[in-house]
Symmetry: C2
Subunit: 148 residues, 2 copies
Amino acid sequence: MRYSHRLSDAVHILAYIDIYHDSDLSSTAIAASVESNPALVRRLMVALRRAGLLATQQGTAAPRLARQPAKISLLDVYQAVEEEGNLLHVDDKTNPKCVVGGNIQETLRVAYDEVQRAAETQMAQITLASLVDDIWTREREKKANGNR
Amino acid sequence: MRYSHRLSDAVHILAYIDIYHDSDLSSTAIAASVESNPALVRRLMVALRRAGLLATQQGTAAPRLARQPAKISLLDVYQAVEEEGNLLHVDDKTNPKCVVGGNIQETLRVAYDEVQRAAETQMAQITLASLVDDIWTREREKKANGNR
DNA sequence: TTAGATGTTACTTTATATATTACATCTAGT
DNA sequence: ACTAGATGTAATATATAAAGTAACATCTAA
C-alpha cells in the first residue's frame, strides 16, 4: 500500500504553528517545512479546523491553535484527518457460501475493533505538548553535539 | 490508499484449514473462499510456514496448522505476513533545516512505537481458536434465524 | 481598493497491493 | 520410474488511492 502521511503531516502543521507562532504561518511556509505543497497543507488545516483543533480564517490572519497543546491529543488529530479511521482492514469480498467466507468479515471486524480501541487509548495519552517538548529536546541535543 | 488485506486473508486461510481439515485444502479451493486467486494464497501460505504457523509441502499433501489454534495469536499472523509491520507511518521527507522538520520524524517514530505496542498487545490476546469459535457461533445463529 | 491569504475543485502523477500468467519443482500413488 | 497434481516463485499487468499540481473563487486586513 502507499502509506498515508496525513496524520504525520497534520501533527507537523500543529507543531509548526505552535513553535513558529510569531513567524510566517502561511500554508506556503508550512509546506516548505513539510516538504509538501500548500494545497495539501490547506486541506489538512480545514480538517483540523472542523475538528476544533485549529482556528484559521480566510484572508491574512495567521492560524492559531484552538486549544492548548496539552489539551490536544494524538487521537484528536488522528480522528480529525483520518476519516476512515481503521488501522486494520477487512477483506470485504469473501465467498458467502462458505462457513469461513460467510462469517469471517464480521468476526474480524469485532477483533479489529478491539485492536483499534487499544491503539486509540494509547493515542489519547500522547499530547501535542509532549510531542513539541520532544522536538525541542532533540533540537537542543543536536546543538550540544554540534558545538562539542 | 489501497488497503492491504494480507492479514485478513492470512487469518482466513488458517481458519479455513482448521475448519475444513478433512476437505480439499488446495490453494485453489481456499482461493475460492477468499475470492482471491491461488497464487496469492500460496504466497501467504509460504509466509505462514516461514513463521512456523503452518505446515505445507509441495506435492499433494494437505497443509495443516503447525500449532494448536489456541496457540496462534492474531499477532503471530500479523508478524508473519506484514513485513513492514507499522500501523502508522512517518513522513520521511521533511525539511531538516527547520526545528520541526528536523526532529519530528524521530519524535513521531517514538510515539507511533507506543501506539504499535498497545495494538500488538491486544493482538496477542486474540487467538485463532477464538476467531474460529466466533465464526461457528455466527454460522449457528444464521442457521437458527433461517429456520424460524 | 487591493494584495495576499485561505477554501475548494478538478485533474495528473505516482506508488503499491493485488490479479494474472507461466513455469519450475516436488511428492504421492501407480 | 512416470505422471498427475499440487506448491513455490517470478514477471508482468491492472486497479486504486495518496499525494502533487494548477487554477480560481472568496475573504480579510490594511
